[in-house]
Symmetry: C2
Subunit: 357 residues, 2 copies
């Protein structure tokens, strides 16, 4: 504190570092800008024009009769603890984007833009840049613009080196193309798209099972895992936007009835969110390979099979539900866009539940 | 931990309490729904139709040639510490909404919807309901829909009884009506709208000055303050959306050239965000009454006058910049909608800076 009285910097908030970071954020944001973004440097809000959409994506080349905005907000949860432990901060931003854009996608919507919130005790420049680098990477992977964000420096709020993240995505879909589950019908097949690992759910249980009960550390190497345990857990969440949008663009001759983002609650609790009341989703166990990390967690914590499927994605990050007649073409389209899909179940008459057979 | 192995609940995440809260959140969300909202219970994203806008607000009864979405993200900052100290959680949600919707408003846009993110260590039901009650109140005050949100229960992440909040708002404006400062011209008058207190900025400095240097406590009563110190500080941020939208609706015969949301950086740093490079904003000190709380903070911390104006709003939460000829009608419209405006300065030839005279 100088003899001229205290300043904001004395109180732990460094406006100058914030301004320097803002300049670098701008570069990262620009790496994500598509045709819809309206430049607004220094302005109070991010701007996105709905006029130029047709140039951005084939999906919008048809006239929109009733555009519906689809919005989602999410965080990364306690997966962040792994980033703190590994001091690796440039991939959790991908997780942040993934959680929201995958939610927007499953309504049939093209994500348009994203905004992030970083809360931290002290703005460590490298950490903050790492975070926004990851966010920009996630935005590029999903073809949406990083339109703005907030880095909140809150002295005494978070332990040194820690932070929390929140993300917010907005997408758009023609009302007639909105996926809300009402199209799902008995006889449909269920395709499973592979997850890249735990994604961003179940980390409180995973950390307890592995580090408290199992006695592992982030550096543990296990014969069944290709990378050390910490790195395996931190693998960023897969973003399904581009391949799945290609499948949606196949149009009404190759109908796609429903999409499910497998987040907290697993296949067990997420699938009923789009099941009609008179249908069940019958998931065939053994129809895909459970990635080794889930078996390691289950063994370490002696966790019941049912609980595993209620908490973790178990290797399936997204479900694509379609008529039998569409399955081959949709699978081929996904495959051509880098996403291996396999049939893991079907829709049967029922009462809105998931059954594992 | 049962002998059947550990569960998610053992790891500190209570899905059932979460589900119970979700039902109450839905009621609160419904209290904010206008005509644009498309019901999507249990869905993955909040839905907002752009078709029904004309019914929601006179502003949209004219045809929109190029609709621009305006998005803002913000938090409440260390004002939350005051809520923790006072154990009062039902007003910081108003602050959260205010920070984002006032940012959206100053681009000339009508806020359409809002989403919130709550990060906490343990979902205390009353605290969470208090938070969302405040968020819903803020949304009603600003005429926007609470379209969704995320409550992230992260064991071990935040101290007991603490949390962080992030908020996201999306608004819409016709491109021709977008306010970006380019209309501001020398000769314009600057109207100031009163703040309700500190709003959500400068709390790190305020807490340091009052509680560390000054030795006050939240219960301190001072002759110049109507309420105890803690309550005075926690006063929710004023939301300017409804009265200012009425002023914008006056249309092209009563032009309004610019709006400035006075947040972190005060009048000093926020006003240049919309000033043309050849204009200054000349602010007349003494043209409004500085609320007593700012004088108490300044005296407690022996803070320089210049620093006060660079950190705090000093009693002015928003600037309205308009031609002299519009000033009377705009003032009267604001007044009729509950917002007292006074002339606190004018735009002069200059170089994009604020001068206090």
């Amino acid at each position: 504190m100088s003899d001229k009285g205290i300043t904001y910097k004395d109180a732990g908030v460094d406006i100058d570092t914030g301004n320097e970071l803002a300049a670098k954020y701008t570069e990262l944001m620009e790496s994500t800008f598509g045709s819809g973004v309206v430049r607004n440097d220094g302005g109070f809000g991010g701007l996105f024009s709905l006029k130029g959409l047709s140039g951005q994506c084939d999906f919008f080349s048809r006239f929109m009769d009733e555009p519906i905005l689809v919005a989602g907000a999410d965080g990364v949860g306690t997966k962040l603890k792994l980033a703190f432990m590994l001091k690796k901060h440039d991939t959790v931003g991908i997780d942040l984007v993934a959680m929201s854009v995958n939610d927007v996608l499953v309504q049939g919507a093209q994500p348009l833009f994203f905004l992030d919130y970083i809360g931290t005790g002290r703005c460590d420049k490298d950490t903050m840049l790492g975070l926004v680098t990851g966010v920009a990477e996630g935005c590029r992977q999903s073809g949406c613009a990083l339109l703005g964000g907030e880095t909140a420096e809150m002295p005494g709020f978070y332990p040194e080196g820690e932070y929390d993240l929140a993300g917010f995505a907005v997408g758009i879909v023609e009302r007639a193309a909105l996926l809300d589950g009402s199209q799902v019908a008995s006889g449909d097949v269920i395709l499973g798209l592979a997850s890249s690992g735990l994604h961003s759910n179940g980390f409180s249980l995973a950390r307890k099972a592995l580090f408290e009960v199992g006695g592992y550390s982030i550096d543990s190497t296990l014969p069944e895992l290709e990378k050390p345990l910490g790195e395996t857990l931190l693998e960023p969440t897969r973003i399904y936007v581009k391949p799945v949008m290609k499948a949606l663009e196949l149009g009404s001759e190759t109908p796609l009835h429903g999409l499910v983002h497998i987040t907290g609650g697993g296949i067990t609790e997420n699938t009923p969110r789009i099941l009609p009341a008179d249908c069940n989703a019958e998931i065939k166990l053994g129809s895909w390979d459970i990635p080794p990390i889930f078996k390691v967690i289950q063994a370490a914590g002696n966790i019941a099979e049912e609980e595993m499927y209620r908490v973790f994605n178990m290797g399936i990050g997204m479900l694509v539900i379609c008529p039998q007649a569409s399955a081959e073409k949709i699978s081929a389209t996904l495959q051509a866009n880098g996403e291996a899909a396999r049939i893991i179940g079907r829709v049967t008459p029922g009462n809105g539940e998931v059954s594992f057979v």
